[in-house]
Symmetry: C2
Subunit: 208 residues, 2 copies
């Protein structure tokens, strides 16, 4: 046990079972796959497809869905600027815990601002934050409009909606970018396959 | 995908890989072991010993330590009444996510108020919240004073310290109570053994 920040009287407890032991047990390496993109760009679909594919390989993953977390951990937060930042910070902190637990944590949330995503990246050990950018045209997302939110945003019944009257800042250096192929959206399995290949190549699907 | 609370425009995404698939993969059942008690009562020691013993059995657990989380997820919170409640609520929400991920989540924090602990219990599916009460005498905890906090509290350099000038409300119906045996504190292995036996008897260490 060591003292950090005496003023606040909070100590740090180290446990003999650590990340490396858990990774060995799971035969994988903990990491965060952070899926960012517009509403309707297919983040949740990719998250599901990816978790299915990893499960089929005997790998343990867990999806942190931005919308779902707003019913629990983040239910005290709204959609104003500070709240969105705090929402993303908390998801980042929880994702970090899951990665530390040895899981492949799949975080799926719009996370429109570069600064907020980079803050989450900075929380994680080097290379274990894998940013996946769903680079789909606004027109396509708006056409899908599975949740009917674009319609509401265009009618000004929702304010500050990403892509309509609030900016989306595309990643500058993401690990994986998924976009249209010959003008059409690749099937979910193709997209999750890209991520699985990345994870395999970087050694996350084994503990060696 | 289903709409909940239209007013807030948040949807709920179901994923085909669910808790039962993850439990099968891990051959265990997700749950929360919530360790409550005074500062110095041995919560962290029990958490460590328990995670070690579970790991030796090939079971995946993860410790959420109240102090450690105050450096990350809960670093925006202090020690005033509302902040302590919010601190515990967030730990409860995260513990719930870990249990849903299939892990045996070991939460270790003073959590002095019954109401806050019961709110966490209410978040979890029936029987999967296992409250462990470290029922150690204040005198013993104060004598240990590993962090030097009782000394500060007695000198009134810390205010609202549990057991000194803030109440600890013992559980009324906890699943496991650990206390002195013949006037001495049982060794950590004996105490974690009690918890492991409980988990075994209730079927948490297999997926059947």
């Amino acid at each position: 046990m060591s003292a950090i920040g005496n003023g606040t009287n909070i100590f740090w407890h180290e446990c003999p079972v650590g990340k490396s032991e858990r990774q060995k047990l799971l035969d994988q390496k903990g990491c965060v796959v952070w899926i960012t993109g517009l509403s309707g760009s297919g983040k949740s679909t990719l998250a599901c497809s990816l978790s299915r594919e990893l499960h089929a390989k005997g790998k343990l993953s867990y999806v942190l869905d931005g919308d779902n977390l707003r019913h629990g951990l983040n239910k005290d937060l709204g959609f104003k600027f500070e709240d969105r930042t705090e929402n993303i910070r908390r998801v980042g902190e929880v994702a970090k815990l899951f990665a530390d637990a040895g899981l492949i944590c799949i975080a799926s949330l719009i996370s429109p601002y570069r600064k907020d995503r980079d803050a989450c990246r900075a929380m994680l050990p080097d290379l274990s934050f894998i940013e996946v950018y769903m680079n789909m045209p606004l027109e396509l997302c708006e056409e899908r409009d599975a949740k009917g939110l674009y319609k509401l945003a265009r009618a000004k019944k929702i304010k500050g909606f990403t892509g309509i009257d609030d900016p989306y800042e595309p990643p500058l250096n993401c690990e994986i970018e998924l976009s249209l192929q010959d003008g059409v959206c690749p099937p979910p399995g193709t997209m999750s396959g890209r991520v699985v290949t990345y994870l395999e190549e970087k050694g996350f699907l084994e503990d060696k």
